[in-house]
């Protein structure tokens, strides 16, 4: 197991930073917000803030600490990874949470930092860093899911602007988003090379969203229709026809954040330990063990899986740092994270029996009702951002060097 020492920064400097972060949090994080959640990081629901939440977001935005490792010149925190980790530790200690999030932070920002023009970075990154703009992802279409490159939504060249026509689907948060980063076709004669990366304001005339209800009962995403939508060419990221390369890079960021890279994993599996819930609902034997022996070993197996996953996340990040490149292990992370999360949900339901399947109304614990919705919504994590099957294809072909049988 890797136990490489932290090499980013000398220890005393980190200590100074720790003190600084602690003091700042004490001065700026209102303790009344402890235990609340980051409304922006959730895909579901509009961002509704009260005055206190707003002040907290603005304070963090001002400091750039919502996106701690992004460059200072664009409104980021300019911190090293080690400092960002210290900040995270101090936030956890204080019960504070990051009020800045969403697709802009998770995927679009990092991609634009790499591929955007100077003007585009200056226009979009600071607003993301301050949590002022919500982005959505216009990739999938009814006929282009796993086979994203077969997308048909077309952008016609009109000199200084494009006219976009077509349909996107599964646009998460589309009804609450201000802007959309999207992949469009600019050349019908080539599959991958005919794709271009565009940015579109959601309030441009001709953009229309229609929410779709999910099996979890919520409607966190939309069908999005584009009818003669005018998009200025200054909103094109990269060159015309370069969209596939940029779009794929963004998907790497998406997969990374979906696998729970970094602190997200900790949050994903936080909450009351399964064993504790099981003891309550299933009871204990004379030695204080979960009364159902089969369930008990399955919980143990799950916790072992989870721990190996967390250790692998850490190893991958250490390896990435020391090899100056992504570790081979990163490619399995989204699949493992999705599987473990889904297994956890299923276990929670099983542990609580009928009381773990409540939909609404009387007779259920609040946590249990939430967990049912999570269970159902969670079925999507092995589908979106590149399904488990597609990840496995990629692992087999790119990493294991196996042949493309199609």
């Amino acid at each position: 197991m890797a136990t490489a020492p932290e090499i980013d920064a000398p220890l005393n400097a980190l200590d100074d930073f720790r003190t600084q972060a602690r003091d700042w949090l004490a001065a700026n994080f209102p303790p009344s917000l402890k235990g609340r959640d980051n409304a922006m990081s959730a895909v579901e629901g509009p961002t509704e803030e009260d005055a206190e939440q707003r002040a907290w977001r603005e304070a963090m935005g001002e400091k750039g600490w919502g996106v701690p490792t992004w460059p200072k010149e664009y409104g980021g925190g300019g911190l090293s990874r080690a400092e960002a980790r210290v900040l995270q530790e101090e936030m956890t200690r204080a019960g504070a949470w990051n009020p800045i999030g969403g697709m802009g932070v998770m995927m679009f920002g990092p991609t634009l930092l790499e591929y955007g023009s100077e003007e585009q970075k200056r226009e979009h990154i600071p607003a993301i860093a301050r949590g002022e703009v919500r982005w959505c992802q216009g990739y999938s279409e009814p006929g282009a899911g796993s086979d994203l490159a077969s997308l048909q939504c077309f952008a016609e060249d009109h000199g200084d602007h494009y006219i976009v026509n077509g349909q996107k689907t599964w646009t998460s948060g589309g009804q609450w988003a201000d802007k959309c980063f999207m992949l469009v076709r600019t050349d019908k004669s080539k599959k991958h090379e005919g794709i271009t990366f565009l940015l579109c304001d959601m309030d441009t005339p001709g953009v229309e969203v229609k929410p779709i209800q999910l099996i979890s009962g919520s409607s966190p995403f939309c069908e999005t229709f584009f009818t003669d939508v005018k998009v200025p060419k200054s909103n094109r990221v990269g060159r015309e026809g370069e969209g596939w390369t940029i779009g794929k890079r963004l998907l790497q960021h998406e997969r990374n954040s979906l696998s729970g890279g970094g602190s997200a994993a900790g949050r994903m599996f936080a909450g009351t330990p399964l064993a504790q819930i099981a003891k309550k609902y299933v009871g204990v034997d004379s030695e204080g063990r979960i009364a159902d022996a089969d369930l008990r070993t399955r919980i143990a197996r799950h916790e072992m899986d989870l721990r190996s996953f967390m250790l692998t996340l850490r190893r991958a990040s250490l390896e990435a740092k020391s090899n100056q490149g992504p570790s081979a292990a990163t490619s399995i992370m989204k699949n493992v994270g999705a599987r473990i999360m889904q297994e956890r949900s299923e276990l929670l339901i099983e542990i609580r029996g009928m009381a773990g399947l409540g939909w609404e109304g009387e007779g259920f614990e609040e946590d249990a009702l939430k967990d049912v919705r999570h269970w159902l919504f969670g079925k999507a994590v092995s589908i979106y951002g590149g399904s488990t099957e597609i990840q496995n294809n990629v692992i087999a072909k790119r990493i294991l060097g196996m042949l493309d049988h199609q």
């Binding site: 796993s146 099996i215 029996g353 009928m354």
Partner: protein
């Protein structure tokens, strides 16, 4: 497939046709959206009773058709395919309790009314959210008191077979009975039922009457699950043959072909286990508990797999409420919990086999 008599073949085919014509999944969706207090469609129940299904276990002398468990299973399987919201399974298990444990007078009082579809009956056993917990409900001076959780069809049943500390009792659904709906993910009826000095009539039966009855309930549930698993599998198979990605139908990808082949294999095993359970109930075999545990454990595991894969292999469309996949997933998890989850049945199977 079990060897069926001519009569059973006719019954199965009729149930198949009725389910497809009169009770497709759209009928379930309509019920869910309308959310009637009973959580089923009374007209559909009347039609089912009219075809003799309510009295499928009831002997002819008492107004039933006396066809037995395999026949009941054939019907439940066909209804399960389309997620038909019907009190048939609950009523049939209550019928089983009366048949096994009832006196002549009790049979005469209830079986004809059940067979005609006039009375919806159900078991009220569990007092906690998981099957098989301790029972505290008690009877003094012919009056029963206690609270039962998640009683299937408990919102509308007129007759309850209630487990008390000293056996099973018949309790009518009026005096001393209050119900509170418990809305589960499957949009069916699972009420909390409180008995407060409700007049109770004891079923005799033997010491193990409760086990005999819940074993039959587990087997019946497994039959319904078989139908669900078949339908979920068939719909997934059809979808893979039509959905095109990468210029090919999904069904051409070997990674998916093998998953379907694996599910198909599990389904065949499930069918055998379920049919063996139904046959054990018909012949009154001594090892029915083993057969029940086998059927329910295998049904739980297989339907779990197939319902999960149904969503995954449909991709985004399977995540939408508009699609039926979610209905199968939600109902599957509820039925997995009823009458013992896979772990419970594996544990009992081991005990019954002396290890």
């Amino acid at each position: 497939m079990a060897v069926l008599t001519e009569e059973q073949t006719m019954l199965r085919d009729m149930a198949h046709e009725w389910a497809d014509n009169e009770s497709p999944v759209t009928a379930f969706r309509k019920m869910r959206n309308g959310a009637p207090a009973s959580f089923y469609d009374p007209e559909a129940w009347t039609a089912q009773a009219g075809m003799g299904w309510a009295g499928i276990l009831v002997p002819e002398e008492q107004g039933g058709v006396g066809m037995g468990y395999l026949s009941l299973g054939l019907v439940l399987e066909q209804l399960g395919r389309n997620l038909a919201a019907t009190p048939l399974a609950a009523t049939a298990t209550a019928t089983a309790a009366i048949l096994i444990g009832g006196s002549d007078a009790q049979k005469a009082a209830w079986l004809p009314r059940i067979a005609s579809g006039e009375v919806v009956a159900t078991l009220a056993i569990d007092e906690g959210p998981r099957f098989g917990g301790a029972i505290a409900a008690a009877v003094t001076g012919g009056k029963l008191s206690g609270t039962k959780q998640f009683v299937a069809e408990g919102d509308s049943a007129q007759l309850f077979i209630v487990a008390a500390t000293d056996g099973l009792y018949l309790v009518e659904g009026d005096a001393g009975v209050t119900r509170a709906p418990r809305k589960l993910a499957d949009s069916r009826s699972h009420a909390q039922v409180v008995f407060d000095n409700a007049p109770a009539d004891r079923l005799e039966g033997g010491e193990d009457l409760l086990t005999q009855v819940t074993d039959r309930a587990a087997i019946g549930t497994a039959a319904e699950m078989l139908g669900m698993a078949e339908a979920a599998f068939a719909q997934t198979n059809d979808y893979l043959k039509t959905r095109v990605q990468f210029g090919q139908v999904l069904a051409s990808f070997q990674a998916l072909q093998h998953r379907m082949a694996k599910m198909f294999t599990e389904l065949e095993l499930m069918r055998s286990a379920v049919e063996a359970g139904l046959e054990a109930a018909d012949s009154g075999r001594a090892n029915i508990s083993q057969e029940a545990s086998l059927a329910k454990a295998v049904a739980n595991e297989t339907l779990h797999l197939v319902s999960r894969e149904m969503i995954q292999l449909h991709g985004g469309i399977g995540m939408t409420d508009e699609h039926d996949a979610g209905f199968y997933l939600k109902r599957a998890r509820v039925l997995e919990q009823m009458w013992g989850n896979a772990a419970w049945h594996r544990d009992r199977f081991a005990r019954l086999n002396g290890y």
